[in-house]
Amino acid sequence: MSYLSLSDKDKKEMLAALGVGSTDDLFCCIPDAVRLKRELKLPAAQSELELVRTIEEIGRKNAYSRHLSFLGGGAYDHFIPTVVDYLSSRGEFVSPYTPYQPEVSQGTLQVVFEFQTLICQLTGLDIANASLYEGATATAEAVLMAQRITTRNKVLLARTLHPQYREVVRTYIKNIGLEAVDVPYGPDGRVDKDALGRTLDESTAAVVFQSPNFFGVVEDVQALSDAAHGRKALSVAIVAEAVSLGLLESPGRLGADIVTGEGQSLGVPVSFGGPYLGFMACKKEFLRQMPGRIAGQTMDKEGRRGFVLTLSTREQHIRRERATSNICTNQGLCALRATIFMETLGKQGLKELAWQNAQKAAYAADRLGSVPGVRKKFSGPVFNEFVVELAKPWPAVDIGLRGKGIIGGYGLESAYPELKSCALVCVTEMKTKDQIDRLAQALQEVLS
């Protein structure tokens, strides 16, 4: 099946109009030596019906979807109202590009403006951008931004920050003279404040921490921000589970200067890790250092309100190598989904959603904690994830649970060698009491 729209007659007439005999002649400027003289080695063309069968068959190879799963760790299974799918799939949102021509892009631009507003409200900060790629690169952008703002060359990364986020930060900074230092955690699963105090110094650009952190534990954002500010470093709060902002005090109010992270929880499917939605909010005074697109309000010649992309002097297409970031295409459609999701749940809905997550996780933590051979690893308060330590090595337990059709959690040893036989268990509103009890029952059987 081809998606061309030219009839054979069209092709003939157009080639004639160009005075060439065949499309081949159009490529005369390509040295014959390098031209491909054979057909590409690709599978034969498929009709729509064949394609559907092929892809559905590949999909069925994901045994995952036939399990009861308690995986989280940066990608969360949340309820997505049907309006989000319906509205975000409209061609008028799916098939345009970045709104370079505001007069014919007011739909997209107003959505971005509403998105920025919602992110500011959630994070408790002044300004937000139109989106970044995802949580890890958003964290890296925040680090680079902190360096530009403070002109300091060390960043402290809490070890409770998503391991993959830390890896990405290191990949980004390794070529530009920025050093990253890990800050350990304490028995409560939170950043060890004394250790932080010891590593913080005048060369520290930012303290970067995640809350709720990778262990699901809520950090003391105020204390960490105060510590950072004590050395004139920036407090950069990462949020990987955006739904938590429905219940927890906003990091902005607790002193964070930059709040960035992952918006997947807000109406974007888990979809094997992407596309997701990096978001970033910060204080007004850092506006000129903010990466990414920003929509702003203005007026047309008749004085009617309209929206445009603005402050682009920060960006690569104007600033070239001196831009605040190289990002161009971002995650527009995911930001649209998040906007519809947030406006659909609304003030009450998002709060209740967050509350139910916390309630169900609390119940699950107790329930699992009561299973012999299972203990809650950290004492700190958790949102919708928690770490359990098991009497048997995790790989064995994992296999045992899978035998019962359950994926019980994410084994932490690979990312945290010290956390032998520990697993991260996530419980969102999508898990029913029965399912939680099933997990507890299964664990009991596997451990006994």
Partner: protein, 485 residues
């Protein structure tokens, strides 16, 4: 005197107590003093409260204020705004994919891994490279990843070097990406044909130069016919050649970057491979490399062991992770669907007819609009407003007037070497009728520029808003809604 309904911000129609979604009642025993000791918020101040009727109407109305590929020709140069097949949208959201979790162990997500591996394999064949990484989230991310790979390879050779050469016609992301990799940029002048000037290149190429970033066809839509010579020059002095594959739509099945001396390149799935642009993403910018750079690819790499797909983290020389998880998966599914649908012949036809359509437009507008570079065009052609300037009309005026004719304007922000550029890329999915509608509109506008320039300067006249004051927007930034106090 017609009162037009303007779409309010959602915050302006919010009313306390309304909601568009409810949750099941909590089915677990309630935990008292939940999150004891943690600072909780009383409410999300300013967050909207509306009904489902209102949400649906708000976004349905907003959607109708967008122009899009589903409504007509979208000749935005360098962006390859081709048609996005609907079946790919559906398949990319199959439940088996939508729920699959990136932290699940390999055996449980063999289907998702097969999708990744298959696309890597097909892209290698199409681009003539030895390996691909699908991690990058967009083209610029691909550039950054690619330049990191080059740096890693050169470091392994003993010297990362200082400079990256970039033609003056390049897209802004190129220098920006090189910069983040710790390189300084040296610009290479284009010659009168609009291609890289070989002398100039030889002059700047030294053993302090890490790489050349070349876009081919370049942003003038011109094929760098000396590309092999160019690669030789770079390689001779120990540099590597990076190709920005944003314009791959002109080459599929015709010539493979890997066969013309390219060491690293990125491809935009949201251009060449028809994944939708989504109003500004999500995209996907896979990076392809030659053997020498394979050891440095970002982790994890998808491997195969005993007929199963595995995640390979054991890559001592890797540059590390460039993002979380494995790339923009559902975008990758769409691109895979597209290649499977087209097959070998269809993939070649992409380039054949993208180039035919572009040249058909060029042929019909030549004379009406100034063409700075008369070198043969590939998939796009770059006119300028030189002729119309005489009547006090700029490319911006022409662009805005095109809106009145019901068609999206071309790209104007670059290439910087053409002043008042009108960069036109129709793509291969357009019909003759839509091409002719565009040509007729452009001709009519050329006429209007002479006879009635004011109608251009005051355009657009039929849009939801007339020309917007972008200067004021930047001067007095209003970047969010705030409750009137």
């Amino acid at each position: 005197m017609i009162k037009e309904i303007r779409e309010p911000l959602i915050f302006e129609i919010s009313e306390a107590g309304k909601r568009a979604a409810e949750l099941p009642a909590l089915d677990v025993p309630k935990t008292k003093n939940l999150l004891a000791g943690v600072a909780l918020r009383r409410e999300i101040e300013g967050f909207p409260e509306v009904s489902e009727t209102e949400v649906t109407r708000h976004f349905t109305r907003l959607s109708q204020k967008n122009y899009c590929v589903d409504l007509g020709l979208y000749p935005l140069g360098s962006c390859t705004m081709k048609y996005n097949p609907k079946v790919n949208e559906r398949l990319s959201g199959l439940p088996d994919f939508a729920v699959s979790h990136p932290l699940a162990s390999e055996e449980l997500v063999q289907g998702s891994l097969e999708v990744l591996k298959r696309l890597e394999t097909y892209l290698c064949e199409i681009a003539g490279m030895d390996a691909f990484s699908l991690h990058p989230a967009a083209g610029a991310h691909g550039e950054l990843t690619g330049m990191m790979l080059i740096r890693a390879a050169l470091e392994a050779r003993g010297d990362a070097r200082k400079y990256v050469l970039i033609p003056d016609s390049a897209h802004g992301t190129n220098p920006s990406s090189a910069h983040i990799c710790g390189y300084s940029v040296k610009e290479v002048k284009s010659n009168e044909k609009g291609t890289i000037d070989i002398e100039a290149l030889e002059a700047v190429m030294t053993d302090e130069v890490a790489a050349l970033m070349v876009t081919n066809p370049n942003t003038l839509g011109v094929f760098e016919s000396d590309i092999c010579r160019v690669a030789e020059i770079i390689h001779a002095k120990g540099g590597l050649v990076y190709m920005d594959g944003a314009n791959m739509n002109a080459l599929t099945g015709i010539v493979r970057p890997g066969d013309m001396g390219i060491d690293v390149l990125h491809i935009n799935l949201h251009k060449t491979f028809s994944t939708p642009h989504g109003g500004g993403g999500p995209g996907s910018g896979p990076v392809g490399v030659k053997k020498e750079l394979v050891p440095y690819l970002p982790v994890p790499v998808i491997g195969e062991k005993g007929g199963r797909f595995v995640l390979d983290f054991d890559r001592p020389a890797t540059i590390g992770r460039v993002r979380s998880y494995f790339g923009n998966f559902s975008v990758i599914v769409r691109a895979l669907c597209y290649i499977l649908t087209l097959g070998p012949k269809g993939v070649r036809e992409i380039a054949e007819f993208a180039v035919l359509n572009a040249n058909y437009i060029r042929k019909n507008l030549e004379g009406e609009y100034h063409l700075k570079y008369t070198t043969p065009s590939m998939h796009e052609c770059v006119f300028s407003d030189k002729i119309q300037k005489e009547f006090g009309v700029t490319n911006l005026d022409i662009a805005k007037r095109l809106i009145d004719y019901g068609i999206h304007p071309p790209t104007m922000s670059f290439p910087l070497i053409v002043h008042g550029a009108l960069m036109i890329e129709p793509t291969e999915t357009e019909s003759r009728r839509d091409l002719d509608l565009f040509i007729d509109a452009m001709k009519a506008i050329a006429r209007e520029a002479k006879e009635n320039p004011e109608i251009l300067r005051s355009a657009p006249h039929v849009a939801y808003v007339s020309r917007l004051d972008e200067v004021a927007a930047a001067k007095f930034p209003v970047l969010r809604w705030e409750k009137k106090s």
